[in-house]
């Protein structure tokens, strides 16, 4: 049987919807069944993804319209691998180390739910990680951004980035952080 939605992939999911006492049976492939919210309307065995999504505060097939900023957040994607925040919520897994940077703002609220309220690592730190080195790396990438902005004549934005760079440079001058001497 072929999926009733995309009419391409083989149907693997059967959805029975009970509407006013009338049973409607639909067949979808796993891709389409994930994309549509009809699945949520009737009791379905909870998948691991669903459990994760509900942990993360936004059910994958929520019938409530997500709030505006959530919607915006869902569009955010990782520069390195292209994974969107929405995808991350659905999979419950990251695709690459840079996803952590892309979704940095949202992660504490997610980690809190999994790790009993904790959002900060307090354990082992690789000896290679030096804060000054990290700051320098950050500055380097910001400089690249600034250059691109100037070339596009986006001077206002470039000025914002310049201020950020200055702030980071000041932090290095102040000692960069506790790890400098290490």
């Amino acid at each position: 049987m072929i999926c009733e939605n995309c009419k391409q992939r083989p149907a693997t999911v059967t959805v029975t919807v009970n509407r006013d006492g009338e049973q409607i049976i639909k067949h979808y492939c796993d891709v389409c069944s994930g994309q549509n919210d009809f699945v949520n309307q009737e009791a379905n065995p909870t998948s691991l993804d669903q459990v994760f999504s509900s942990w993360f505060g936004m059910p994958a097939w929520s019938t409530d319209a997500p709030k505006k900023n959530e919607q915006q957040m869902n569009q955010v994607s990782c520069k390195q691998c292209g994974m969107t925040y929405h995808q991350f919520l659905r999979d419950g897994k990251f695709n690459c180390p840079s996803c952590y940077d892309a979704f940095h703002e949202e992660l504490p609220s997610i980690f809190k739910k999994i790790h009993n309220g904790a959002t900060e690592h307090t354990g082992k730190v690789p000896s290679g990680i030096n804060q000054v080195y990290q700051l320098k790396k950050q500055i380097e990438s910001l400089r690249q951004d600034m250059k691109a902005l100037v070339q596009n004549e986006q001077f206002e934005e470039a000025a914002v980035v310049r201020d950020e760079i200055r702030e980071l440079e000041n932090r290095i001058l102040e000692g960069g952080g506790s790890n400098e001497e290490v």
């Binding site: 691998c81 994974m83 897994k93 690459c96 904790a118 959002t119 690592h121 082992k124 690789p126 290679g128």
Partner: protein
Amino acid sequence: MKKFEDFLSEHPAQWMVGDKEHGDIIMSTRVRLARNMEEMHFPRAASEEDILSVDRDVSGAILDDENLPYQFSHFDLSDKTVVQKQVLVEKHLISPQLAGQNKHGSVLISEDESISIMINEEDHIRIQCIEPGLDFKEALRRANEIDDCLERNLSYAFDERFGYKTTCPTNVGTGLRASAMLHLPALTMTKQMRQLITMMPRLGLVVRGMYGEGTEATGSYYQISNQITLGKSEEEIVQELESIVLQIINKEIEAREAMLEYASIAISDRLNRSLGVLQYARILTSEEAASCLSNVRLGIDLGIIQSIPNELLNKCMLIMQPGFLQQIAGTSLKANERDVFRAELIRDIFQQCGVLNNNNGDKGEDSYDV
């Protein structure tokens, strides 16, 4: 260097034999560290090329390090058979996930089989150290030793705020999962285990079956591990787990004493019946074999059953599993065929050990090389 076949042998690894304090209740402790390399997609999203390069870098770092006091062998799992991989799972050297995945995965195993480093499982690197008995400190120390060696040669994906970056948010931070393998027959028989299992999540701990995630507890063996990996140091995680494990051990000891005191003949009957089943059964499912072996072990611990060495039980526990059975049979067996073969093998082991002093001549037609 040990060959791949050597790691498939049914001789119990050293960590199974240990003779530590509470060794009759806590079989082993394990520490696992999840690590990933910077600027590489996690295995689930990585290209074949990246996966191979991670494999090369990680195995190179370990095999070329002359200061490491361990001898490792590296095995590519893509050219191994299903049964061979299953045997490695049954020996706890690789995870069921690594055995089942289509993507290229490999493993580094130390000579004494107490350390294994899985490459390209869910994370690029999973360091696992097993110690006999209750010894989280030693397991953590060795895991850190391997971790430090890798850290010198590779650059890890690390976030200053969130710690070690892992594929799954449930491992982020320390990437540490510490677990204890406990044999808790008395708590199971007195139905106290269920309470314990429902209570554990509140303490940030999880109770699972013998083979980790998603497996059933067979033969009263339970794996207890930390759920939380962020916001605590490695030492704190391990200490908290250890103190809970010690409390559980004491509960088990109390339950065993109570059982002996109030139902000694009933218990003795039950445990000896299990011994009888192992010695005479012609069909043994893995559940029944596991539960009988568990009972006999309890019998030995309580002094009810004598003249059976623990090593014999360890050996039975290993070889009764589907992968080992099929390896010994040298062919694939259906579930019902396995049950018959399992009964034959176990019967044979008990007989060879001279448990049946008054041999009734009921030995199987074939003898097996076990």
